[in-house]
């Protein structure tokens, strides 16, 4: 795999930009997709947000200073794009953020790209009750199996706070699933 520093340099140079961007997309497309999908839940929405994320990365790579790792910078863009997308959607539909989250989970039952069982649907309902950041920490740790250090860089939160947040999320979800 091409070194991150080399990739960033190639992305910033006109002659190597196109090829480097292709490498970037192929390297991160799946990871970013699943990150976004777990926030917006619907495939078409995830597809839109993912494309916008890559376009933003391409257009703003000049401004990437290298203070953080490239992947955490892209994860941050993807997270912001996803949350902004949901905010716009709730505004458009004239519902609150919480109402939208519940509606999104309800829509999963008729979603052709959701093949979850009853328990998986219940998991989504449980996650919809969590605060945004707690949900993010949970999905990044539990499903994306990211290390706390990596999550810390993306969410700009201390590892200690992330661990506390994660364990709290696990307890809440378990309690929700066990109920009734």
């Amino acid at each position: 795999m091409i070194a991150e520093e080399t990739l960033v340099n190639e992305l910033k140079q006109k002659e190597s930009q196109a090829r480097a961007f292709e490498v970037l997309v192929n390297t991160y497309k799946e990871r970013l997709y699943w990150h976004i999908r777990r926030i917006v839940l619907n495939h078409d929405d995830a597809d839109d947000v993912l494309q916008n994320t890559f376009i933003k990365v391409y257009r703003n790579i000049e401004g990437f200073k290298g203070d953080s790792k490239l992947y955490s910078w892209m994860y941050r863009i993807a997270t912001n794009e996803s949350l902004t997308f949901l905010k716009q959607k709730s505004k458009k539909l004239g519902v609150s953020d919480e109402e939208l989250k519940m509606k999104m989970v309800e829509n999963l039952q008729s979603d052709v790209y959701f093949e979850g069982s009853e328990i998986q649907l219940k998991l989504q309902k449980a996650m919809a009750t969590l605060p945004d950041k707690q949900k993010l920490v949970f999905t990044m740790k539990y499903f994306q199996e990211m290390k706390y250090d990596e999550i810390s860089e993306v969410l700009e939160t201390s590892v200690g706070a992330l661990k506390a947040s994660y364990h709290l999320a696990v307890k809440k979800i378990e309690t929700y699933i066990k109920a009734d």
Binding site: Q51, S117, I119, Q120, L121, L123, K141, V170
Partner: protein, 176 residues
């Protein structure tokens, strides 16, 4: 089935091949604190067939589309500053010219405005100041009194209240 040559112990087929994966799963479960959790290990989401294969093309075609032209506000700012400066110069020139060519004369002021000024402003003149500006020769008591006094009433008042008529320094010719 695997077999140990010395002790004749056996292991399931392929046990050591999958050991690494199973170990990693176990480590991950311990790390996430979900070893015995009831939370499902997958979330049931799927993607359309061949989605990730077609994705790069879709992104590149979007990037290749001409970037929307960004209109810089700064260039307009320069124009606004220039226009404001020119307007200020014109105003200054015309303002000065107007002042020199047509000075506003006192006669040009509407008399209604002057009346309003005196009515609404407390001038607070003293009697001496009023005496200086008002010609007493052309003024009679009735000019300043709202209730008109008859000459007879005045004379009657003076007759009753003035002891020595000479103190008034009147020109007797006027009253005879």
């Amino acid at each position: 089935m695997g077999k140990d040559e010395k002790d004749n112990f056996k292991t399931p087929e392929g046990y050591f091949d999958s050991l690494h994966d199973r170990l990693m799963d176990k480590i991950n479960q311990q790390e996430t604190g979900t070893e015995d959790s009831i939370i499902p290990k997958s979330d049931g989401f799927t993607v359309p067939e061949g989605y990730f294969g077609h994705l790069p093309k879709k992104i590149f075609s979007k990037i290749d589309q001409k970037e929307p032209k960004v209109i810089q506000l700064k260039s307009y700012k320069k124009f606004y500053y220039g226009a404001a400066a020119i307007a200020a110069v014109f105003l200054l020139i015309f303002g000065l010219n107007w002042k020199t060519e047509t000075p506003i004369a006192f006669e040009d002021l509407a008399s209604a405005e002057i009346d309003a000024y005196f009515e609404n402003t407390e001038l607070d003149f003293s009697f001496y100041e009023l005496a200086e500006v008002v010609a007493i020769d052309n003024l009679s008591f009735n000019d300043v009194l709202e209730d008109q006094l008859e000459d007879e009433n005045i004379l009657e008042y003076l007759d009753e209240n003035v002891e020595h008529i000479e103190d008034l320094n009147l020109d007797y010719d006027d009253y005879e």
